[in-house]
Structure formats: C-alpha cells, structure tokens
Amino acid sequence: MKKIIYITLCISVIFSSCRKPDEFTEGPDLYDVYGDFEIYTPLEGSQINVDFASGETIYFNCELSKVVNWQLKITGSNSGAEKIITGTSKTLDEEVALWDGTTTSLPIFRVENCTVELSFLTNETDTILSTSVFVTSPKQNEGFVITDFEDGWNSNWSTFVQSGKSMDFGIKLDGTAPQLARYYNMAGAVDWDWLTGMIDFNASAFGETTMPLTNNGDNLFFNAFVYGDPLYPNSRILFRFDEDENIDGSYDITNEDSFGYELIIDWAGWRHISVKYSDILSTNNSSGGGVHNPDKLNRVSVLHLADPNSGYAHSAIDYLIFTENEPLRP
C-alpha cells in the first residue's frame, strides 16, 4: 500500500506540474520582422521649434508595420551640420529617436531651420519621409572655453609665424567655421623647419596666472575642432600644455611640466578631437615631476608642423574647450 502511495504521489506531482503552453511569446513578433512593410503614421517631430540652449530636446514619431533598420538624418539648412540617428524598431518615439542638439559630423548646428529625413535600410521600400524643425537656439556646451575666435584677436595671446612662402595664419570669417562664424587658419610652406607657425593662449587672457580648471587630470578632457585639407595632407598639429607649478606667473621649461598631444592631420574637413588630460605625454622629460596638474595650466600652445620637404601645408582649428567628466558632445 505504501508503495502505491509513493508512486501515486510522485506521478500526480509530476503531471500537475506540467504546464500549458504560454499565451504570450518571447522576442519580437515574427510578423513585425517578416511581414509586409507599411507606414502607419507619417514622420512628425514632437515640436516645431526647439531651444536646445535651455535644455529642450525633440523627438520624432513614426509607426511602421514591421521592425526595420532605419536612419534619421537631420541637416542644418544654413550650417550644413548633420545629425544621424539609426535604429532597428517598428516605432520611432522618444526612446529611440531623441535629438538633444548634438551633431554627428561638424559643423555644429546654429539658429536655423533643419530638414529631417527618415529612410529605411531595407530592399522593400525606397520611401523617404521628411519633416522639419527650427532650432531657435543651438546646444550650449558646458566647459571652459579657451577660445572659439568669435571675439577676434586677444592681446594676451602671442604668435609666431615663420617667414616662409604663402604664409596664412589668422582668424578667418568665410562661412566655413565648424562653430559659429570664425576659426583660426594655419597655412604656409617652410622648407627649413618643421614649425610653420604657432599661437600661445595664455592664462593672462583670462586675467589669471593659471586657467580655472579642476586639479583632476583623469576627469578633464581637452577638445578642439581641427581641419584637414584634402589637398595638403601633410600637416601636423602639436597641442602643448605648459604648467606653472610654482605659481610664479610663468612656465619654466627646466623645472615645470609641459605636456604635448600631437596629431597627424590625415583627414579631410573638420573633425572633433578629444583627449583626456592625464593621457597627454610629457614633452620635457617630466622636468616638473610628470604629474598632471591642470589647475596650474599656464599656457596652451598650438604648433602647426609640416615636413620641410613636403611643401605647402594647411590646417585650421576652432573651439578649444576643456570639459569635465566626458569628452565634448558637440
């Protein structure tokens, strides 16, 4: 009798435990993946005007019949700035299609009207949906701006330009700046030296002996927009950071640190570069101990370099800015 009870108990527990099939599914619906492609609702922005400077964002809505790979391309009508947002979903909404005013490729957006195009990366359609949005105020970036050249030449800066051929160093206003209107051009041919010209941005331009930065080099990022001329891909730019560690108002190469970040400009157009301050290497054998002290930064220098045998070299810079916690998101 006991044996029968054991067996009956086991069998009843087992069979009562077997479940019915779930009445819901796992993963995206197959129809959403393999069904016919249709556009259920048109592309629309969540607002007509957007003020990024005050912290506003805009998102785009669109409903589709199935999950597809899509691309939103936002283009500034004046600046030519582009923001690309991509995703894989059947619905565009605040979660997947939010724009916070940042740009994917320079220049950055200005006060301007922007066209918004939604395309689908599928063979089933070549439809492109479009709408527009007006940027009443572009995104403001937090950080310490060394310069964006919009206020012209500062008398506390200093410069040196070699007497080579076709030397063209100076602030330009020609509609091609990646941020606002002005940028600093660096060009020329020097056949006896790598250095073609340089510019020093001294802390004295801010009425201080050191720049007002955090003392934590692990948390500080130096950012700049750098132009590469596709016709003259022989430029190099050295960003040099001189620290006044004894706070005597000047940098001494023999016993204070200088750090350098050199770029080979092998691209075409404007590019955003960013580097963590503590990752920048010493240029004077750590004469000041080699410890990064950004709060004692006395001078930022930009040196335009080129192989003397390579002829004419051309580059440009704009929007030199330190940011904390993360690289600049232009």
């Binding site: 087992i14 479940r19 779930d22 197959l30 993946v33 069904g35």
Partner: protein, 563 residues
C-alpha cells in the same frame, strides 16, 4: 543515544587512493606527442605542419594517511621551437585533499564536481555520436585536455563532503558542498563572482533515495564599485524509488525544481521558472533496460551551472582559421565544424559560463543545452542493452518535445530527436582471437513549426552518422577506420539575443549541405595506457549557404602514454 552515527568514509572514498600502497610520494601523469601535416585546399597557404610533445608530470605527496597533495606540471614543446624557444611550462593541476577528523572529506584547489543534471552538470551537447576507432583517439585526447570526465566541470575552489548513517531511521545521508570563484573583481565595475552549492541525499532504504539540491551563482558585494549584484539560484528535489521483482528492477526517478535569475539594479528583468523531469524505468537481469520519461523545462528556466555549453560557436578556429573562396581573393573566417570539435581541444570551454552560450543548430537543435535546455516539454523513451555475452550492446533514445513558449509567434516548435549507438564485438561470433569491434551511431534531429504565415514555418532536419571499426590484425596492432557524416537541411528562425539574453531579432537560417569525414589509421598498443597511432583524415565541408566549401586532409602521428 537512539541513533548511532556511523561515518561512511569507506563508502564515499572510492575515488581516493591515499597511500594505499604505503608510498609517501607517487608520480602520475602522461605524455603525448602529436605531429600533423594538414592541407586545406582553399587556404592561401594550403599546407601546414605542426605538432607538439608534452609531458604532464604530477607529484602526489601523502604526508599522512589522511592527506594528499597533488601538483601536476605540464612541459609542452611545440615542434619548430629551438632549444628552449618553443617550450612552455604550466601548472596543470594543483589540489590538496584529505579527510578531516575521519569525518569530513575535503578538497582545495582544482576540483572536478557535479551535482544533478539541472543544477550543476557538464552535458555533452555536441559530440552526439559515440566513437571508437580514429575518432575515439581524438575524443581520448580532448577529454584528457578538457578534464571532461563523468560530466563534471573543473573548478577552482573547495569542496566538502561527508556521510552519516542513522540505522534506526534511514539508511544513510550524504552531504556534498562546494564553492568556487568564477571571476575576479576588477575593483571597478566587475564584482567577485562565486558559484557554490551542495546537496543532501537521503537514502531512506534500499528502495528510496531523495535529494535536496541547491546551487547559486552570486556576486560578492563590496568587491567593486558597484551594487549591481547578480544572482542565479536553482533549487531542486531529486528522487529515485525502485522495487525489485524476480528478474528485473523497476522504478521512477527524476528531478523537480525552480530557478531564479536577477540583477539588483534591474529587478524588472528578473526571471523565475520551474522544471520537472521524471522517468520510469525497468532494468532486466538480461541486461535490457527500458525507460520512458517526461520533462517540462520552463522558458525562463536558467541554470548556468547546468546550461553552460562545452563549446561556444561564437569563436574562431585556431587552425586554418581563415581561408578563401577559389573564385575570390578575400580571406574569410572558417566556421567551427564538427570535425574541428574532434580536432581542437582549445575550442572547449573550461568552466561555467554565465549567460547563454551560442549554439549551432546544425550540430544540436533539439537540446542545445543538454537535458537542462529551457523552453522544452514533452516525453521520451529509451532502450538499452548491455549484453552479458558482450556481443552486441546498444543504447537508443527518442525524444518528442515542443516549446512551451513561442518565439515571435504563439505557434510552437516541435522537436524530434532519436539517437542510437550499437556496438558489435564481432569476433565473439566466430570465437576469434583478434578483436573486431564495429560501432554504429546515429543522431537524428528535427524541428518543425506550422503557422498562419509562411515565415512562421520551420522545417529543419539534421542527421549525424558515425561508423567506427577497430580490427586487431596481429596482437596489439589495430587497423581503424571511421566514417562520420553530418547532414542538415531546411529552415529555422534562429533567435538573435542581446547581451542580456533577450531575443531582439531572428535570423532566417537556411541550409542544405553536409560535412563528411573518412578517416583511417593504425594503432599499436604497448599497454592499456600507451599506444602509437597513425591517422589519415579526409574531410569535406559542403555548407555553401554558410561559408565556402573546402576539403581538408590531414595525416597525424599520435603517441599517448599514461602512467
């Protein structure tokens, strides 16, 4: 004292060999040499040769009758190394084990451990056909390299086991426990992660055994700068109740349990589910064994101690990892094939993997994570024969399963898997002196799904067939041969999962092709533990929908010595 405790050390220490011969120090280990000349017809440099000679030298020290210390070093010399240039020296095994207070059996360092098939178990999901002959030698090598013995996983940690006998109440109790560390903290965002658990197995009498099992993968808070604690807990009850009649034993056994998976910072993504697996069986004195069982493994059942796969298919081959199409000049990655699984021990996972490992439906689609595979329910039956005359042994099983939760549709996939291994010791038929062993094994898997729309339909079939022969030409000299074939055809909607193992999309997987291997060789046995073999393999890969077709031929000389 009503219950008299008797420590069952003598029962549970069958795996030990402490100083049984009185030696304080013993040398154990093995040596192996492998030389290969291989040719892949579409590789940029089609021929390669290589090999190695290695020595595993273990020293067992028994400082006293209750303690054993074992350290095994590996000296590996790759051919092509000059003087010491190609020599590597590693620690292969290191442990201390013993019996404390004549009660507690412990082991520290390397431990080979398992509990139950649903909690902690090393399932064999990919080599689905059994092998003798040349493939048997390959299996011998990779099993030795990967420590895959008796379905255990090798861990770095500690285990503690003991047993009690309570004569007036129950027959005995076994208590087993272990703890190991799966990964170490990076002192930033990765916490120390441990895997621990154990079970209590109660033998009420000779007929009833009940086990309580629990395992947990967990993060240790405070070991990194994050409070996002991971937990995967599995608890189960195992049982085995059997009776003995005149000429057979019949009974019921199985396992029932629950699992939970959570991360403290995303409780909304937690998964909990249960499983049940029961089996009735009849074992006849003639050697015939019959069983039938049912299982229901929930779609959210997660037990990475039992669902970790031996091989992940999200990795590159180590040998001829790239090759080219004959009509193209672009080199591409060569996918991991069934033949590679026989050849390369480095493809195998050496421990528990947290998260679902990538599977290959061509090789295993019905139970890709072994019997602990989630989202499976149904039944099976099996038949096995251990011939007392040792003439014909066979073991077969048929599974008829389905999903319990549809993927992207309410329509459920159905699965059919049949497997059989038959071994014939043919010389027994004519009372021959020289061995002639023939082994046939086959594994058939089928996944089907009907649906309202065409894209819901699934019809995917695979077949693995393996025949191996060993013939003793003269004493201790064997001729060997194998034919291995893997066919796959049809379509399936394979889920694509993100890093959280959630399904985010599907791959429309369509194939119609095959792999085949013809292998032959000769083995000279010097003793039961040492042999020299020469093997020639001719392999063809013909899954053109996945990657370029190719032929792979290789000749290997293998020397194995164990001591």
């Amino acid at each position: 004292m009503r219950y008299f405790l008797i420590i069952l050390f003598s029962v549970f220490s069958t795996g030990f060999a402490f100083s049984q011969n009185g030696k304080k120090v013993q040398f154990v280990g093995g040596a192996r040499s492998l030389n290969t000349l291989a040719e892949l017809d579409t590789a940029s440099t089609p021929k390669r040769s290589g090999g190695y000679a290695l020595l595993d030298l273990g020293i067992k020290i028994n400082p006293n009758s209750n303690t054993e210390v074992m350290g095994m070093f590996r000296i590996n010399n790759e051919y092509g190394g000059f003087w010491g240039g190609g020599v590597n020296i590693d620690v292969r095994q290191l442990y201390v084990r013993g019996v404390a207070n004549d009660i507690f059996r412990y082991q520290l360092g390397n431990i080979d451990y398992k509990l139950t098939p649903y909690t902690f178990y090393n399932h064999n999901q990919d080599i689905l056909t059994s092998s003798i002959g040349t493939l048997g030698i390959r299996e011998d090598v990779f099993n030795y390299e990967t420590f895959y013995s008796d379905n255990t996983w090798r861990q770095q940690g500690a285990s503690l086991n003991f047993g009690l006998e309570l004569p007036n109440a129950i027959k005995d109790i076994e208590v087993n426990s272990f703890i190991s560390r799966l990964n170490r903290s990076d002192f930033n965002y990765v916490l120390d992660r441990f895997f621990g658990g154990g079970n209590v197995v109660i033998n009420k009498d000779d007929n009833l055994e009940i086990g309580l099992n629990h395992v947990s993968i967990f993060d240790l808070s405070g070991t990194a700068r994050t409070d996002n604690i991971y937990n995967n807990n599995v608890s189960s009850i195992t049982f085995d109740y059997h009776l003995e009649k005149n000429n057979f034993v019949y009974g019921i056994d199985g396992e029932y349990g629950v699992s939970s998976l959570s991360q403290s910072e995303s409780p909304e993504d937690s998964l909990t589910d249960y499983f049940v697996h029961a089996r009735g069986y009849m074992n006849f004195n003639s050697g015939l064994e019959l069983c039938f069982g049912i299982l229901d493994n929930g779609a959210d059942f997660r037990s990475f101690g039992a669902q970790s796969r031996r091989a992940s298919f999200n990795q590159e081959n180590n040998f001829f990892n790239r090759y080219i199409d004959l009509t193209d000049t672009t080199e591409i990655l060569r996918p991991v094939s069934l033949f590679d699984l026989y050849n390369d021990p480095q493809l195998y996972n050496q421990g528990i993997s947290v998260g679902l490992m990538e599977t290959n439906p061509i090789i295993s689609s019905v139970l890709p994570y072994g019997i602990a595979s989630f989202n499976r329910q149904g039944g099976y039956f099996g038949i096995k024969n251990d011939d007392p005359k040792d003439l014909i042994d066979f073991n077969g099983r048929v599974y008829m399963l389905s999903e319990s939760r549809g993927q992207g549709t309410l329509a459920l996939k159905s699965f059919l898997m049949s497997e059989i291994v038959a071994t014939i010791h043919a010389e027994k038929i004519w009372d021959g002196k020289n061995e002639l062993n023939i082994q046939l094994s086959q594994n058939h898997q089928q996944s089907t799904r009907d649906g309202e729309f065409d894209f819901e339909s699934v019809d995917f079939t695979t077949n693995q067939f393996n025949i191996g022969i060993e013939y003793e030409v003269i004493e201790d000299v064997y001729l060997m041969g194998n034919y291995l074939k893997l066919n796959a055809s049809g379509n399936d909607q394979m889920p694509i999962r993100n890093s959280e193992d959630e399904i985010i999309n599907y791959e429309n997987f369509i194939v119609d092709g095959q792999e085949s291997l013809v292998s032959s060789g000769m083995k000279i046995s010097f003793s039961k533990k040492s042999y020299l073999a020469i093997i020639h393999d001719r392999f063809k890969y013909r899954f053109s929908q996945i990657s370029h077709e190719y032929d792979f031929n290789q000749t290997s000389v293998v020397y194995v010595l164990k001591f």
